[in-house]
Symmetry: C2
Amino acid sequence: MDMTQREEGAASEWVNEPVEERDPSLLMHTERPFNAEPPNSALREMITPKGKHYRRQHTPVPVVDEDAYRVKVGYEGKELHPFSMAELRQHPERDIAVTMMCTGNRRSEYNTEEDGDTMGLPWKNGSISTARWGGTLLADVMRAAGIDQDSAEAAGYNFATFWGIEDYHISVPLRKAFDKHGDVILASKMNGEKLPRDHGFPLRVVVPGYVGARSVKWLDRVVLTKEETVGMHQRGIAYKQLPPNLKDITEIPKDQIEALPPIDRVPITSAITAPEPDSQVKRGDSLTIAGYAYSGTGHAVIRVDVSIDGGATWEQAEIMRADETQGLRSGKAWAWVQWTYTITVPKEAAGTLDICCKAVDDQYNQQPHGISAIWNIRGILNTSWGRVQAHVVDGSRL
Amino acid sequence: MDMTQREEGAASEWVNEPVEERDPSLLMHTERPFNAEPPNSALREMITPKGKHYRRQHTPVPVVDEDAYRVKVGYEGKELHPFSMAELRQHPERDIAVTMMCTGNRRSEYNTEEDGDTMGLPWKNGSISTARWGGTLLADVMRAAGIDQDSAEAAGYNFATFWGIEDYHISVPLRKAFDKHGDVILASKMNGEKLPRDHGFPLRVVVPGYVGARSVKWLDRVVLTKEETVGMHQRGIAYKQLPPNLKDITEIPKDQIEALPPIDRVPITSAITAPEPDSQVKRGDSLTIAGYAYSGTGHAVIRVDVSIDGGATWEQAEIMRADETQGLRSGKAWAWVQWTYTITVPKEAAGTLDICCKAVDDQYNQQPHGISAIWNIRGILNTSWGRVQAHVVDGSRL
């Protein structure tokens, strides 16, 4: 059960779903609304292939007429300034590789007999994907709407609140929205093409370095507010991590949840995308271990450690970055890294290779090793070491 | 051995040490240069008592004439603008509670038979302390020296490089130095009094949210540079964390070290300051467990989890903050939190309480559980769970 999304409802609401955009290889968690993740083969690509991006929908996908469409921008309680798509295109275009990750990525690993089940879709490795997003800097559009950062902050406007056409809404700090190094864009393109409907056609926000939930799709308006918006996805339980000892959500007072900060920037994480779990590998054969690693805030991944003995010993993987703008000292490493590490399966290997990975970012943030100490009833931010087991066999048994 | 500090040298160099500023309760690691840490009793105070702050000196303490003193500010290769203390005082004064932590804090715990010895002073819990620092925003002083952020950045000046009178020098990103939410100050006061000589009299930099090493004491000049400064404390090994499998520093190529980013912002960490290690505790008695928790970048600590069974189960500690400006959503939580958790020692407790703590910050960054996977030859950033054992006895045995 995931109470952050609506129930399926009447069949008539779903007749306009963009089924043609959805690759059949996706692992579907719910069809209505559509929530699905790519297979490991797609997760091993720096830019996720078309149709294979993960989908995290809360509602039916809205149908939008691009010509009639306007995004509205302004202060709460005042008249908003409408912009057509053509007007947005008058500003300089940005094209940025950005990884979107759902806070629920790798939730399924939390659901163990020992620690108990969590609430939400049981994502595996794949509620994460990466695209090049093209669009206009939000800061440019806000200025075109007559908004000056210093004046807004001085008047107590601390948040940019994004509303989607389908009524999903969240807030991000105004400081991030205006940050000239923050790269927040109103995106109309994904990998050089118009946005697919599943990904927010005709216009979405892309908030680099933040969790996917902040990058509102089918954008209706950007409203400067003094407080965070009210609602489950901002102040409520959707993106709050509770302590491991709180096992029953009904025992947790609402004000205790609302007092917590929302998850904006993903802590350092990594995962293994090859070999597949419980593969068989042959003594003496070459084995390439692969995966991704990602840290929010624009922190660059500087190192990925890989172990084949459950973390007793480590070696370093080779790292590939999205492009030269996302380097170690950029502060703007908005995309994941892809990494590989190739071994020869030891002749003396017995039984099982307990393969682990963990990443380190440019501020030397570290991943926790296991799930028990970070387990939480909402099952979010499983940023523990990636783990996969491979079973060692002789050639004749393969 | 700590190769980041000079050798003791001739006795005549040390005749001007401010010995009267140094509380006798400090645990001294080296006398010349003076490196010492407070006892746990002092670490339990929100503002560390006078004389009991940790000291991390690389050289003898310089003797400076305040009246003749000038701090120089400007672009590399151009004439620098000198400011007297009186001129600095013409700008608005800021007073901010800031924790300074050495990257080597808790290094001693790394030095185990299993993992091997690390290089550097064997700090326990205490290469960390907190003061209220008073002074002038560096951004105001740079502007008074005729420096404009946008022009500087456009011309490729990406760093503010700080030089101390004793020749210690490091760089911080210019973006941090100018950030209006960054609170970088040139401090002339510590807890309302003139800076003690040990802490940088007459003027030091305080870079909130960054490791102590970036807050240069006895400041001689602030120079805008295009590149990071050259030297051990910036590009060299001093503040770089290597992977756990590199056990021999002579095997590591210099360019591999220089390619790593320096440690600027401390990842989330915490430690236990009560009870003392290996205390005896009595069944049925009340026991208050106490400690601190800190995260760099201005991230607020939102939760501290405490376990008395080695991390099998957790409860939450009560948290105290430095002041109301350092709250959960401030982004400017520059000081540690102090925390306490009181239990009754269980009647059925047998043998040993394995007390652990771990903290979570406002971006839900987590601490790694143990040292082996983060062990590194320089012994820095031991941000693993805090751990202390207490031995349970009957009343008659105390």
